[in-house]
């Protein structure tokens, strides 16, 4: 286990649970309406799936780009610029919430009419939609703050906000749905979003919070945020389009009675949202490594993410192939014939999950490495173009089951075509991360667990490596000394704990030393820090002698950068 993989695995549960909570939140209204109002309620909320995606799209359009730019600027030690992006993103999320709410208010009746569903289902959907408008305004802000809070290293509070939102939504929506029908369910969702925002505001009171407001409004930066976000957020826009198309197709071909089965299929495919947690867990590390232009460590953390995505996607598929009844029970389907058809549909559509896990990971990764075009292309291919092209074919060949199977195979087909394109365009040597190998030769990474023997061995190895690379003995020795003294100080401050560290020697354009550790957060580069030992005294004097040094603690680990 290396520092990067250890940290990635430490981030993964919180990121996955956060996405699972978000998935359940998106699902909660369908589940509550299905259980309280029956199959009609399930069908009505299924018509709303496109609306949910549009609201998520509005939140992601500001949050994803802002978080990537914020983390990258922090990685490059530009705190003021990072806060500028936060300010800009926050303002944009408020505006996006208001705008999407206004647009949804204007198009409500025409869109519901266009579905052509039964009068009972249409009336219920219309009522839900109207009372969902406050939630539509609040949710982008809640999503933005949750993402930024997570990116700033406060995964716990970010996760707590999801739990509060989900808890409030469920606690309120169930009785409200019983009393006021679908409208009550939507109102509970709005109150949940408001509660999540209230929880997230506590992050600003915490020590070490890097988020802050700084006067900043530049149109090109807003466009950068949007462009970076579009790759990830685009999938929600694509899904919204697909949902509208699917709902209309299924109603026209198979009638409103097929909507509950479609709802279960969309719930099954929707599980893939949970897999976005893998990319979110990789992001705090990958963005910093990319900011440092450290190809070696970028690949290391992304390989760990790739394995995690395959395990999550494959595991979910196997679970649903074996127990499709889980989804049927969740949806609240009780009519035996509908439940039997839904079980087949769950099995057929669950085939999409491993491919979707990879699509989501690479979609985020392409945004990290600023290949937004690829991210957008992959997203739209997997969640819109391929399903849109395949489901009518499936429907024509195999009826409703043909549609579900097409939805299961579409992401796999899109991924295969995309991988082929990358292999042809960039070759096997750069597949699948597309990073040129030239920078890797000048980077050497040393991983260790902090104990005196390991620290001294690493210190000696760093010195030896530098001498072999032609660095003069004085600088090599100083680098070696810095490694030993800094890591021993870290060890002393974390007495009795197992601490992992990572030392990067980067000779691209000079000699840079990056020392990371997962111990107590403190600034070792502070030349004015309290001196309590000869070692601390030496470190303090070394810091004074090294003007080109920076400390960064934002993402849950210490990062100290020295240029020698």
């Amino acid at each position: 286990m290396t520092f990067a993989t250890t940290k990635f695995r430490a981030f993964l549960p919180a990121a996955t649970f956060a996405m699972a909570a978000e998935f359940l939140m998106g699902l909660s209204d369908s589940v509550i309406c299905g259980h309280v109002l029956g199959e009609t309620g399930l069908a009505a909320t299924n018509l709303m799936q496109g609306v949910f995606e549009i609201v998520t799209f509005a939140g992601m359009m500001t949050a994803i780009g802002s978080s990537v730019l914020f983390a990258t600027e922090v990685g490059a030690l530009h705190v003021r610029r990072a806060r500028g992006y936060f300010t800009l993103g926050f303002s944009a999320s408020v505006a996006a919430g208001l705008l999407v709410s206004a647009v949804l208010a204007a198009v409500r009746l025409p869109v519901i009419g266009a579905f052509g569903a039964s009068p009972e289902v249409s009336a219920m959907a219309s009522s839900y939609w109207l009372w969902f408008l406050p939630a539509a305004a609040l949710q982008p802000v809640a999503f933005f703050l949750g993402t930024m809070c997570y990116t700033d290293g406060d995964a716990r509070l970010s996760f707590l906000s999801y739990l509060v939102q989900l808890g409030m939504n469920c606690l309120l929506s169930v009785p409200l749905t019983m009393w006021f029908g679908a409208a009550g369910c939507a109102a509970g969702t709005g109150i949940g979003s408001f509660a999540a925002i209230a929880v997230l505001l506590f992050h600003f009171r915490k020590t070490g919070c890097m988020l802050g407001f700084s006067g900043h409004f530049i149109l090109p930066d807003l466009l950068r945020i949007s462009r970076l976000s579009l790759g990830d957020a685009g999938k929600n826009l694509g899904k919204a389009t697909l949902m509208f198309a699917l709902n209309s197709y299924v109603i026209s071909r198979f009638g409103s009675d097929a909507l509950p089965v479609l709802a279960v299929v969309l719930m099954t495919i929707g599980i893939s949202e949970v897999f976005d947690g893998v990319a979110n867990a990789a992001q705090p590390l990958a963005s910093v490594y990319i900011g440092e232009r450290n190809a070696f460590l970028t690949k290391r953390v992304m390989r760990a993410a790739l394995a995690a995505a395959l395990i999550e996607g494959g595991g979910a598929m196997l679970l649903l192939l074996a127990f499709p009844g889980l989804m049927i029970a969740l949806a609240g389907i009780e009519i035996p014939a509908t439940a039997a058809e839904a079980a087949v549909a769950v099995r057929l559509s669950s085939i999409a999950l491993p491919a979707l896990a990879l699509v989501l990971l690479f979609n985020s990764y392409y945004v990290f490495i600023r290949r937004e075009g690829l991210a957008i292309a992959l997203t739209f291919a997997a969640v819109l173009v391929a399903p849109l092209a395949l489901f009518p074919v499936g429907g024509a060949l195999g009826g409703a089951r043909g549609v579900w199977m097409a939805l299961g195979l579409a992401p796999l087909a899109a991924l295969a075509v995309f991988a082929l394109y990358e292999l042809v365009r960039w070759g096997l040597s750069r597949f699948p991360f597309l990073i040129p190998a030239d920078r890797e030769a000048a980077i050497r990474v040393f991983d260790l667990e902090l104990d005196p023997v390991g620290i001294c061995a690493t210190s000696a190895a760093v010195g030896e490596h530098l001498r072999q690379k032609g660095i003069d003995a004085g600088r090599a020795s100083k680098a070696s000394l810095l490694v030993e003294e800094a890591l021993m100080v870290v060890r002393d401050r974390n007495a009795g704990r197992r601490i992992r560290a990572e030392v990067t020697v980067d000779l691209n354009g000079g000699l840079a030393l990056v020392i990371r550790d997962d111990g107590e957060i403190f600034d070792i580069t502070d030349a004015d820090a309290r001196v309590s030992s000869l070692r601390a005294y030496l470190v303090s004097n070394l810091m004074t002698a090294l003007p080109n040094r920076r400390n960064l603690t934002t993402t849950g680990f210490n990062r100290n950068v020295f240029k020698l």
Partner: protein, 97 residues
């Protein structure tokens, strides 16, 4: 690390070879036995690296010799080690020759 000790009259010369770091410093500490010598020379010509663990030993040895009315000299310091002594101000405390 290697430590070679030679005596010439009241002068004890301790020649150290290798890195002096947190792990090897206890070896050096064990080798710093001065007996009744009134002058001790620590020869660092073969020490390319010394961390604070080594500095602590030099300072302790220097104080011991002073307390006993003797003198300790640090000889043939390589430039990388000299820089560490300069950064910490030890070059003003120790007798460098």
């Amino acid at each position: 690390m290697e430590i070679n000790t030679t005596r010439e009259g009241n002068t004890l010369t301790i020649a150290v070879s290798g890195r002096v770091d947190t792990v090897t410093a206890p070896e050096l500490e064990a080798g710093l036995k001065f007996g009744d010598s009134s002058r001790v020379v620590i020869d660092l010509s073969n020490v390319p690296y010394m961390s604070s663990a080594g500095l602590r030993l030099l300072l302790a040895a220097h104080k011991t010799m002073l307390a006993n009315g003797g003198r300790m000299e640090v000889a043939n310091v390589q430039s990388a080690v000299r820089e560490v002594l300069d950064i910490t101000g030890f070059s003003d405390i120790l007798n460098l020759v």
